[in-house]
């Protein structure tokens, strides 16, 4: 399947869905194309933060299907009662520990992708993690990581020339294979910038005499690359840490928050590293036993993640870096629908993940509520999205990697999800399309709340239709269908039947169509 095929099928690309305030809009014909946009904004310094929830996060107790009796049947001891959830949609509630995530979602700084896994999901932690970090099919073994492949393609000079700033940073881990390239692991790993600096010491950057061209000489060169990298990067990281600062307080007892605090500080200090990885300790999310419900192990973990992400994004907002930084959570698998005999859950398959940042299409849920009726033969949730669709969207929309590069990185083509607001587009006024037979002049309020008012101009008489589609391109409802004479119109439509999220508004005059983005918040 071709990427973006669902949008292409509608004759529209994501780029033609501008985010609109109270200002005149461009029609499709004059909107910049996706590729044009990429060219416009290529080279901007975007930073992506991967948050690994090791152990397999239980999606059903994170986004609770609060109206589904099957959920309560299958989870007699650990289910979250409806009245304890925090509001999300009519049918879904947040785990009560997710207050921070709820706020981020409601403020449009966090998107949810439901049902993420891959065909023939593997239930082993190691293999499952491997698959997520190498971005391969379940039965393919690959030595390099998907981020590593991206960095190798974009930095062919590594390691002969070391870039000024590390290509990737992992806080407190052990050089995840996600950063493995065919030339070695490109990540710089430390728990704390100061400690890293002290560990390396205050020695000058070594200047090595040439090594002989023998097998041993080649290995010596490899060790020297590592030695040089740790030497220069420990200094560079400290420099950035000294220059940077945090605008919010991060609690001491939240490890994830402490890691993200370092990330925010380094970004604020001007470090140009494009990718960070932070993770929650050990295999913490592996809640086979005593997972708990409103309280307990899982609740503690969710509270930690929720509060950490909110603080991080608030920090970035205060530092005016919010639009430059985005990120996502991932976990090797979700957990089984049926709770086990030890008050916990066993390894499962599909689960939700979160994409966060000032530039994501926040407040949106991609995918349906989990289907607890149709499960696989092990009693696990079926796939809604392949995890590589998310990666593909990150590479294409966030890093603006060309399509051919993405195919090299992910080995195949995956349909993107519109996870990000297209950079460089929102603030650019588009030329007014005076020749188009149908022009949307104004749409307000944005986002729409209860109702939306459209002001549009019909240049030639014809059949006018205004309809709403979801982001998968499925028709949701028709607002208006009638014959329209030439002239300017202003009409208000009720949007209460639509749940909060982003939609595509289609205006059609006979065979002419124009598309716009419609955000709805209740």
């Amino acid at each position: 399947m071709k990427r973006r095929s669902f949008l292409k099928a509608m004759g529209v690309t994501l780029a033609s869905l501008p985010i609109i305030g109270n200002r005149p809009l461009a029609a499709l014909s004059s909107a910049p194309t996706f590729d044009n946009l990429r060219r416009l904004t290529a080279g901007t310094d975007k930073i992506f933060v991967l948050v690994q929830l090791r152990g397999g996060n239980d999606g059903l107790n994170t986004l609770v299907p609060k109206e589904n009796p099957l959920y309560y049947e299958r989870r007699p001891t650990i289910a979250i009662l409806k009245e304890n959830t925090l509001p999300l949609t009519d049918t879904l509630g947040w785990h009560p520990s997710c207050e921070g995530l709820r706020i981020l979602f409601d403020e449009g700084r966090l998107a949810i992708v439901q049902g993420v896994t891959y065909p023939n999901p593997n239930r082993s932690h190691f293999r499952g993690t491997d698959i997520w970090i190498t971005a391969t099919d379940a039965n393919v073994f690959e030595s390099t990581g998907w981020v590593g492949r991206y960095l190798e393609l974009t930095h062919p000079e590594y390691p002969d020339t070391l870039p000024t700033d590390p290509l990737a940073i992992e806080i407190g881990g052990f050089s995840s294979r996600i950063f493995q390239t065919s030339k070695g692991n490109v990540a710089v790993t430390f728990s704390d910038p100061e400690e890293f600096y002290q560990l390396v010491g205050e020695s000058p950057t070594p200047a090595f005499p040439p090594a002989p061209d023998t097998p041993a000489g080649k290995e010596l060169e490899f060790v020297r690359t590592i030695a040089t990298a740790s030497n220069i990067y420990s200094k560079r990281v400290k420099e950035a840490a000294d220059k940077g600062y945090n605008a919010v307080e991060y609690p001491e007892d939240n490890d994830l928050a402490q890691s993200l605090k370092i990330v925010a500080r380094l970004i604020a200090g001007g470090l140009q590293t494009p990718i960070y990885l932070v993770s929650i300790r050990g295999n913490a999310f592996d809640t086979h036993a005593n997972q708990g419900g409103v309280e307990g192990e899982h609740a503690t973990l969710l509270a930690e993640v929720s509060s950490a992400l909110r603080l991080f994004l608030d920090d970035l907002r205060s530092l005016e870096l919010e639009d430059q930084v985005a990120g996502m959570t991932f976990s090797e698998f979700g957990r089984r629908v049926q709770e086990n005999g030890s008050l916990g859950t066993d390894h499962g398959t599909a689960a939700p993940l979160f994409v966060f940042g000032g530039s994501v299409n926040g407040g949106m849920i991609f995918g349906e509520d989990p289907d607890l009726e149709n499960l696989d033969n092990r009693g696990d949730l079926l796939m809604q999205y392949d995890y590589r669709q998310v990666y593909s969207s990150v590479l294409a929309q966030w890093f603006q990697a060309p399509e051919t590069q993405i195919e090299q990185i992910l080995f195949r083509d995956f349909t993107e999800l519109p996870l990000f607001k297209i950079a460089g587009f929102t603030n650019e006024p588009s030329p007014s399309p005076t020749t188009a037979p149908l022009q949307l002049l104004q749409m307000f309020p944005a986002p729409a709340n209860g109702s939306v008012t459209l002001r549009y101009r019909v240049q030639q008489p014809g059949t006018l239709a205004i309809a709403v589609y979801n982001l998968k391109g499925q028709h949701i409802l028709t607002l208006l269908q009638q014959f329209a004479a030439t002239g300017e119109y202003q009409r208000t439509f009720d949007t209460t039947p639509l749940r909060s999220g982003t939609y595509i508004l289609q205006l059609q005059l006979d065979r002419y169509q124009t598309y716009h983005r419609l955000d709805i918040v209740h």
Partner: protein, 560 residues
Amino acid sequence: MARQMHRRSFLQTLTSLPFDQHPALHKALTLQPLNLTTGLEPYQPNSKLSTEDARHLLRRTCFAPTPAELETATKMTPAEAVDHLLRPLPSPPIPEWYDTDPLSPSELRRLTEEERRAYRQQQFQQIFELIRWWYDLMIATDFSLREKMVFFFHNHFTSGFVQVKVPHYMLTQNMLFREYAFGNLKELTEKIVYDPAMLVYLNGNVNTLRRPNENFGRELLELFTMGEGNYTEWDIVEVSRVCTGWFNTFHKPYYDFDPFPKNPRLRRHDYLSKSIFGEIIDPQVNDDMSTAEIRERGMAEVPQLIDLIFRQQFDESRGYDASHPYYGKTIAAVFFAAKLYRTFVYEIVAPTIVAALADLLVENNFQLKPVLKTLLQSAHFFDPQLRGAQIKSPLDFTVGLLRMYPFVELYRNNQRTWNSILRSVTSVNTILGLRLLQPPDVSGWPGHRDWLNTFTYPYRNAVSDLAIQTLLQQSPLVLYQFAQQFPSFQTNVRTFVSEATSYLLAFPPLESEFDNLVETLLDGAPEYEWSDIAQNAQTVIPRLRAFFQATMKLPQFQLT
């Protein structure tokens, strides 16, 4: 002051890193295959090992040489030294808790939550005791390849204590590896099928007629004997059927096979015929047979299976033709030969050497000893271009460090101190990516370049600094005495640097590095004054400390 900070950050890191780690699985290298002329012919068979030769041999086989081992080795020919490395050793005494049975699942269930937690805690303590016990053997076993082979098998037939849980099983497996350190690969592979730890680790204990579990069957072919691409998914199904029926009884490390073969409802083993690689394994049982006979026939399938696996060849049926370097060779023999090559010689295998080693394995019916013997005394093994061409594993690094300096003499007779050193080795190696008895996954540690990154490299430097600190804390004179073993110590500073660095480094310092080390020792004094400086312990000790620490911070120190 700077040293103090090093120490603090070192300790902070000890506690701030996650316990559970997942280092890279597979090496991703862009290395050229070798084009060397040396082969498996014996290396200088009629002369004694030179000091340099002896160092190379002991670095690769004993983590690093002790001065005493070097002295012994230089009185031997290569063949004699290798024979000595391969000599049979008595089995070491094992931790006492092994004699107390672990609790059975039903006993465990009867415990209260609190008791169960306490019991788990006790099991973890036993595991850590076991880890220290093994580290002690690695450090203190004299002039033997055994412990390195035990690790070779631990990294091959992997099991991890987090999954296995029962420390007795981990020890049983460890002892099995020790018993077979230079033994028969076929026999060992057979025993692994029903090894208690392996039965838990790869779910062999729940692989039954009714609910076949292919976890072990798949790895037996993929990771333990043949490598991917040399079998079909169907073979995995059938191999798994052969392996049904085994399980552990929780009293003592003990396994049993299908206790109710006569009862079709309770039967665990699949007694029907299996077809693997186009051959049939059929126990041919019928209900007229006694229970004992049925079991015996069922159990006999495992050696048949192993024999079958170890007979498979790289032939046309698998898509190989005469142009392939391994054409006509036995697959399992090549598989093990290549792994031995990578362990003892170099990361990138030389196919001709591996093919010859594979032939040797087959000729000797998979006895390891003659193969190890041939490899370790070969001209190829001693090829100057391959010396120092391996990246030290955390074991080479930490165990080697303790063996190169007089830690054993100074501390091993003080149980408390020694235990705390072994504890440090355990945590340091965990941080460096090698958590003993807990491989990252069933494929083991990828090794080589994966060991080093921008964190582990400076961390290793901090550890080697700390090692010297520790020695000096015992007595300021330790380094002074240590330096006496180098003949030129008190006479010629340049010769001393040359002697000491060739002891510590597998790859010599290059010219400017060498000059810097000389400068470190002289610390501003003219060269002709060295003799006076070196006679005076007070003046020379701080210089020696700086010198040894600087030498171990050269990138060369990471090579072996």
